[in-house]
Each structure stands twice: as structure tokens, then as C-alpha cells.
């Protein structure tokens, strides 16, 4: 909660006294209807997959689906999802605890720095890693005279490491949000009751932050499932990489079949998570505004903790930025250049389209988040879960689906910004639904009842009570969508309006042509602009330190 809300909150607290149970009326049904409509709209483009897969004969389809190579890819993908999620939790949760609950020095600086890896696109991060640690990489060259050899960065371990390092901030941020809204007095109380910090943490804190952690872990899991750049650069075969290979071979039928199989994996993960999640309680604390004043003293562990933070920041920020910088200083392949000069317009275009995507996604997320937070019905849960489908599917699949639908049924929308923004909404909806939903859960339903009792219309109650309380959740969702849109490549490349160049399409253009040096400036601009919005995101966590 930010400070401005405290006034509202105080007024609302008084209303709470007067409250009776919330009234349910037609407006709830309207919201539910809108939510269903949105969910159906964002999923429907993927029906195209079945159209394309149907072109493959049933026998051939079966042989593709059970081919040993397909099974390998299935196992690889599941293993990568599991390992990346595990690594992200292993990094994100301790770092969140350190920066919220402990007396780590410079907590604010660390918080910003530890969130920033999220803004480095994985295709650049992985590339920087290979440039640094790969065979003949910068560090390998530096260390080889000393007789130090670096283990190979390629394959499963490399893909896990790079993906984990660049996406753990999802877990870090959602866990932080939970910790911040957690009433630390409970932890202190537990500690006074003769529990050590560790035991108090396990018994008091962990159950409260589990839903936040899970939300972040889901975003990580499906990011790992749908990412193309990292597995491709790390030479690791996953569904997404094989789907790309099929598209490059014009095997659209096979690509569609594999995509449907990937959707099945998605459904399985969502199902498993919903079984696990049931135990986790319903929210990010009970609407109590927590503080991030430290409650645990690190003592002797201060130095190791600092070293841990520094190591993560070093790997995820210092190395990529140093590599980009090195590209910037070096001349590229010696051939005439032209037609590809960097323009600041590209950065403006990126920000412009990302702002629309962020606003559009939050607007689409709000009804779904509202319904799923307010109702325990299966339909409501299904609604929320369905938003993950567009997120888990590789960008190229969604983009080609929208090419087919756009060019043939909505030609007036095709290759326009609205259709591109729609693609972003489909891709990134769950990022906004997650944070919005958790903030809706925090709003005490009795408050709305109180407002209604005092004569507010449903809309008035929403505007005056709910909206101010959930604003931080909305802004956090918007910022996440903004960041991921800034770095989104496949859909942008396929669906952008002709002549509309963004930072990532420009980076793609110069990398394709082999001018790595020219990718450095836009890459640094991308990271810098995204970092600014990340700072905005973190401000929303509350300035009450």
C-alpha cells in the first residue's frame, strides 16, 4: 500500500464497523459475463492450431506424437520447467526474505538491482553468457592462461542456469509483495514464543507467502516452457525450439501438433498447481499492511548474504552490460554498413506500444481477477487459469494464428497496432491477472458492503473503495506487462505495422546481419528504459521503510 491510501483506508476502517455482509446483485453477474467474454476472446485464436493440425493424417499425427524424439523433447521440456522453477524459487525466495525481513545493508539498492534481470531479454542474456563463458568466450580467454577451464555452458545446465538467473525476479517480486503485506508482528510474536527465526519463519511466514511464491513460480514455469531464445542459444531441445525448427522447415502441421502437446503440458502443470495450491490459503495476508522494517538480524551471516546478492547481480547484470559495452567499443565485421542506423524513434515506439499493451492488459485482467478473487467456483478458477494458455504458447504460434485470422477475417486490423496490442494482451494477461487478483483478495468484502449500506452504487463503491485499494496491484501488473512487452520479439516481428521499428525488431535486424556491435546501444537503451519502469514498479510496493 502506498501512503496516499492511508486516508482512504482510515475512512474505510470506520465503514467496516457498519458493514453487514456484501450484497450480491446484477452487477456481479455482468462482471462475470465480461470476464468470460475476455477469456474466450484471448483463447480463441489458438483454435487455429487444431485447424492446422487437422491437415496431418491421424496415423502420421500419432507417429509424430509418440516418436522417440518427441518423447525426448517432452522429457527435456518438463525437466527444464522443473529445474528453472526450482532455481528461481531457490534464488527468489531467500533474496526476497533478505531484502524484506533482514537487516541487510543497502536493502533498497539490492531490491532494485535484484529485480533488474527481468528486463534483460533472454535472447540477449543467453547470448551474453555464451560470449562470456562459451568456448572461446571472453572469460574463457581471460582465464585460460591461468590454467582455469570453464565447464561448458551449453545443454541442460546452461539453459537452466541462464533461464533461472533471468526470470527468478518473478518469484522474487511476488514473494516480496506477500512479505510486505504480511504482518511482521506475527513473526515477532512467534519468536517471543520461543521459536527461533527459522522455525517461526516456517510456521508463520511460509504459509502466508505460499500463494505469492506460487504465482511467481507459475510465471517462471510457463516462461521456461515458451521461451525460444535461451534453449536455442544453449543448444537444448525443448518443445519451443522444435516447434521453431518445424516452422523453419515449413512443417506447419507438425508444429501445430507439438504446440497442442505443449498445451497439454500446460494444462497438466496448472492442474497440479491447483491441487497443491488448495492447501495454501487464499491470499497475501489478511489485508494487513505490513512493513519492511527488518525483524531478523543477520549477524555473522551478513557478509555471506551480501556476497550472495553480489554474485547474483554480477551474473545477471554486470556480465550482460559489460558484454554489450564491449560490443559497443569494438568494430564489427569489416563491411560497409548502412540502412541500419539507430534512431531514438525506435525506443519511443517500444515505449509507446508497451504502454498500450500494459493498459490494455490490465483492463482485460481486472474483470477476470475480480471474479476469480471473489468466487471459489470452478468456473471462476478456470477463468483465471485459462489466461495462462496464451502465455505458455510460444510467441510464434500465437503470431501465426493472428496472421491467419487477421489477414483473412479482419483485414482492417491486420498489421495495425491494435492487433499487435491484442497479441500482447493474449501473451501477458496472467502477469496482470496474478497481481490484480491478489490485491482484490486483500480488499475486505465487508468494506464494499459498508459502502453500499451508506448509499453508494456498486460502481461508486468500486471506484471509491475497491479501486484505491487495488491500485498498487494494478500498477504492478501493468509494469510487468510493460517490461515483457518491451522485450517481446516473435509476435512483434510478425505482427508489427509495416515501417514500425521497435528496439527489439532493430536488435533482431542488426544481429541477423551480424552487426553485434550495433546491437549494443539498443540493448543498453532497452535495459535502461525497462529499469526505469522497474523502479516505478518497486515504488508501488510501498514507501513505508
Amino acid at each position: 500500500m502506498s501512503r496516499e491510501d492511508t486516508g482512504t483506508r482510515r475512512a474505510v476502517d470506520r465503514l467496516r464497523e457498519a458493514a453487514r455482509s456484501p450484497t450480491r446483485d446484477g452487477s456481479n453477474r455482468l462482471v462475470a459475463g465480461v470476464a468470460v467474454l475476455i477469456a474466450v476472446t484471448v483463447i480463441s485464436p489458438l483454435l487455429w492450431l487444431f485447424l492446422r493440425a487437422a491437415a496431418v493424417g491421424p496415423r502420421e499425427a500419432l507417429s509424430i506424437l509418440v516418436a522417440p524424439s518427441t518423447l525426448d523433447v517432452f522429457v527435456n521440456s518438463v525437466a527444464l520447467v522443473a529445474s528453472v522453477t526450482g532455481l528461481s524459487v531457490a534464488l527468489g525466495v531467500p533474496l526476497a526474505v533478505l531484502t524484506v525481513l533482514s537487516d541487510l545493508p543497502f536493502r533498497r539498492v539490492w531490491t532494485v538491482a535484484l529485480s533488474l534481470p527481468l528486463v534483460v531479454p533472454s535472447y540477449l542474456g543467453a547470448f551474453a553468457f555464451v560470449s562470456a563463458f562459451g568456448p572461446r568466450g571472453e572469460l574463457a580467454e581471460l582465464l585460460s592462461p591461468l590454467g582455469v577451464t570453464i565447464p561448458t555452458v551449453y545443454g541442460f545446465q546452461g539453459a537452466t542456469l541462464v533461464l533461472g538467473l533471468f526470470v527468478y525476479p518473478y518469484v522474487f517480486l511476488t514473494t516480496r509483495a506477500s512479505l510486505l503485506s504480511f504482518d511482521t508482528e506475527q513473526l515477532e510474536a512467534a519468536q517471543t514464543l520461543n521459536h527461533g527465526f527459522r522455525s517461526a519463519f516456517r510456521r508463520v511466514v511460509l504459509p502466508q507467502i505460499a500463494p505469492g511464491m506460487t504465482a511467481g513460480a507459475l510465471l517462471v514455469a510457463f516462461y521456461a516452457l515458451s521461451d525460444f531464445g535461451t534453449p536455442a542459444i544453449m543448444h537444448f531441445d525443448t518443445f519451443t525450439r522444435v516447434i521453431y525448427v518445424q516452422y523453419n522447415n515449413f512443417g506447419r502441421g507438425t508444429a501445430s501438433l507439438l504446440s497442442i502437446q505443449l498445451l497439454a503440458v500446460t494444462a497438466l502443470v496448472l492442474f497440479l498447481e491447483s491441487r497443491l495450491g488448495d492447501a495454501g490459503g487464499d491470499g497475501y495476508g489478511g489485508g494487513v499492511v505490513g512493513t519492511d522494517s527488518p525483524v531478523a538480524s543477520l549477524g555473522w551471516a551478513k557478509l555471506p548474504a551480501l556476497a550472495f546478492c553480489a554474485l547474483v547481480v554480477g551474473l545477471t547484470l554486470v556480465i550482460p552490460v559489460a558484454i554489450f559495452g564491449m560490443w559497443l567499443l569494438r568494430s564489427g565485421p569489416g563491411y560497409a554498413s548502412g540502412g541500419i542506423g539507430f534512431q531514438w524513434d525506435f525506443a519511443i515506439n517500444s515505449v509507446y506500444v508497451s504502454v498500450f499493451a500494459a493498459v490494455g492488459t490490465v483492463l482485460a485482467a481486472l474483470p477476470i481477477a475480480y471474479v476469480s478473487a471473489r468466487s471459489d467456483s470452478r468456473i471462476a478458477q478456470l477463468l483465471e487459469r485459462s489466461t495462462y494458455v496464451g502465455y505458455a504458447v510460444p510467441g510464434i504460434v500465437l503470431a501465426l494464428a493472428l496472421v491467419f485470422l487477421g489477414a483473412n477475417y479482419f483485414p482492417w486490423l491486420y498489421q495495425t497496432l491494435p492487433l499487435l496490442v491484442f497479441a500482447y494482451i493474449v501473451r501477458f494477461l496472467p502477469q496482470a491477472v496474478g497481481s490484480t487478483r491478489s490485491s482484490v483478495i486483500q480488499v475486505d468484502a465487508k468494506l464494499l458492503g459498508a459502502a453500499r449500506t451508506l448509499g453508494e452504487t456498486p460502481r461508486g463503491a468500486f471506484r471509491r473503495v475497491t479501486l484505491p485499494l487495488i491500485a498498487p496491484g494494478l500498477v504492478a501488473g501493468a509494469a510487468l506487462v510493460f517490461l515483457t512487452t518491451m522485450k517481446e520479439l516473435p509476435a512483434t516481428l510478425i505482427l508489427h505495422p509495416t515501417g514500425f521499428t521497435t528496439l527489439v525488431t532493430y536488435i533482431w535486424r542488426v544481429q541477423e546481419a551480424g552487426y553485434y556491435g550495433r546491437a549494443a546501444l539498443p540493448a543498453l537503451v532497452l535495459v535502461a528504459v525497462s529499469a526505469l519502469s522497474m523502479i516505478l514498479l518497486l515504488r508501488q510496493e510501498g514507501d513505508d521503510a
Binding site: R136, H235, V245, N248, F250, P333, G334, I396, P411, R509
Partner: protein, 391 residues
Amino acid sequence: MEDDTSSSLRRRRFLATGAAAAVGALAGCNGLPGGSGGGSGGSGSSGDGGGTLSLSSFRGSGPLVENRASLSGTRIADLPDLSGELTIYLGGGEGGLYRDLLAMFSQIYPDFTARPREGGTAQLANTIIEEGENTPADVFWAVDAGSLGAVDEAGMTVDLSGDVVESVPEEFHPTGRWVGTAGRARSVPYNTNALSAADIPDTVMDFPETDGLVESMGWGPTYGAFQAFVTAMRLIEGESATREWLQGMLDGGVTEYPDEFLTSNAVADGEINAGFANHYYALRVRSARSNAPLDLAFTSGDAGALINIAGAAVVQGTDQSELAQNFVRHLLTVEAQEFFATRTFAYPMIPGVPPVGGLPTIDELNPPSIDLQELANVEPTLQLMRDVGVL
């Protein structure tokens, strides 16, 4: 890149082959090699008033481009004006440079507007196929034959008129519905301090058994062009011979590089004696470092001599068919071919424009007879390379 190489002393030796020396001083370098076609170069000035651009405006610069021979073929001035707006799907690597050429066309023809739309070649081909008859594309201009072939097979191309393709060798317009605009040849860059041309086998399959190359070769197996080369080998020699070849190279201690520019650069530095790379990378190295002890050898009639192309097609469903055909014709003019030859160091497609850097002409090379469209099937190649442990 220069920094890490400056420590090498060996590269100081002067390179006598190739480049300027070989082409001789036929025409001087004033960029107006008189002769055929008349007209276009004459008025010279590259002022902004539209109209004409001299041939030298299309020509690149640098040591490799000096002393160009006189060129022949259709010139821009011989063709009807380009007028109107064209949406061009521009696939792949040379995107930036191709944009420069489009800008030059617009400078010559103020009424001509090109709307380039970039993307991966295969992605754009898939896009055109999904769009079907409603595609906004008028022209598909892509850097690989496989993508052109896929669009062609989907029935999304129209017949190019005879006078558009007639100047290009037949193997580069096999169906008549797309035509090569520039070529790139597989080659063997070698260090002239360590090896002579005679040390390089004429047959790519002999490389693993060649004593002089053991522990001194480099390649870039993650690079698309290298995989296309292995695909060609698989198609020509069969799977098991290809597997043996890859294994033989591995056993011979081949060094891996991230791409073929760096492979060529390492050859110039003497880190390795020879490598496998597209021909233009060695030219890029030499263009930046004209003294580099680097030359190119070509194998004959096998995968090692593969020539792949960038090419263009007029897209089915365009309402600008006439303009689109005329545009493709412009890509095959002396000026455009000189642009590709001297700025991207590609192989020109018309016989009247020689390649730069003393390269053998396309007729002198002996590429394998292989359907370029089949090169798109790279998946079994990747599988094979992974089995052997190359990837």
C-alpha cells in the same frame, strides 16, 4: 574484433593473390565504365533531384572494390520507370543493406515508394502462406532458396516474365516463379602463410584424411549456412558418409567458432590454417585488413561447393503485378548487381558483372546439382550433428 588480432604478427605478410591484383586494371576506378547500355551513368551527379544515379553510387568502397572491370547487362535506364507503392517482405540477413538499395531506387524514382517489412525468411514465408490471397505482400525477397520454394509450392507466387529471368543461369530460377538476385558460395578460407592452394583437397570428403589439415581446421557448426552445407552433404553423399565425415573432422581436432566470420578471422590470424565458411566472410576480413594472409579455395561438384542464393518472387494476389515484375527486373540490373557484388561481396547473378576480390566467376565454380529448396529440411541434419556430438 581488431583488438584481439593485433597481437598476431604473421598477418603482416603481404597477400599477393586475389583482390585488386587479379582483376587487373581494365577500367580504372572512376565508376563510369563506359560501354554497354548507354545512358544511366552519364549524368553522374547523385544530387537529390531524383532522376539518375551513377553506377558508382551503387558501388561499395574499400580495397576489394578498386579496379572494377567494365560491366555489361541491362541498366536501370533501359527499364520502364518504377512508379507506385510496393509492399516488400524482406527476409533475413542483408536487410539493412537491401534497405539502402530500396532507398536508392526511391531516389531515382520519386514516384516509387517501397514499404519493406522485415522478418526471418522462414517466418515471412509462413506468414505469406497463412495470409493466402489476402496477403498485403507484393514481392517476397528472401535470403534463402528454401523459403522461396515453400511459398512457391504453396501456390503463392506468379510466373515471372521471360525477360525478367533470362539473364540469370537456369539453376537459379528453376520454376520460373522466383529468381536468384545474389549468390553465396561455400568456400575454404586458408592462411597463405601456412598453406598453398594446392594443399586444399578438391573434394570436401577428403578433408578428414588430409594430413596438412589435422589439428588446424575450424568451423562454425551452430551457424545456419554450415548446417545447410551439411544438409547438402547428407543429400549428396548419404547419411552414413556424412556421419563419418563429421566424426573424422572431430577426430582431427577441428576447432569450433561461434560463426563463420570469426572462423575466417581466426584463419587470418593464423590460429587455424583453414576453415569452412561462406565466401563473403573472408572478403569482409580482407576488406577490413587488406594485408591479411587469407585466401579462398573451392572444392568441386560437391557439398563444399554449394551455392545458395538470395532471390525474389512476385506474390500471388498482388494488385501491383506489373510494378512488382519491373521491381524484380531492377534487382537484376547492372547497378543492383554491382551493389550486391561490392557491398555485400555476394556473387552477382548476371554474367556481365564479375564478383569482387578475384573470386572465380559463377561459371568457373562447379556447384553440385542439388535442388536448393531441399536445403530447408535441416532437422535430420541437426539430429545427425547432435548424434555425432558436433552440436
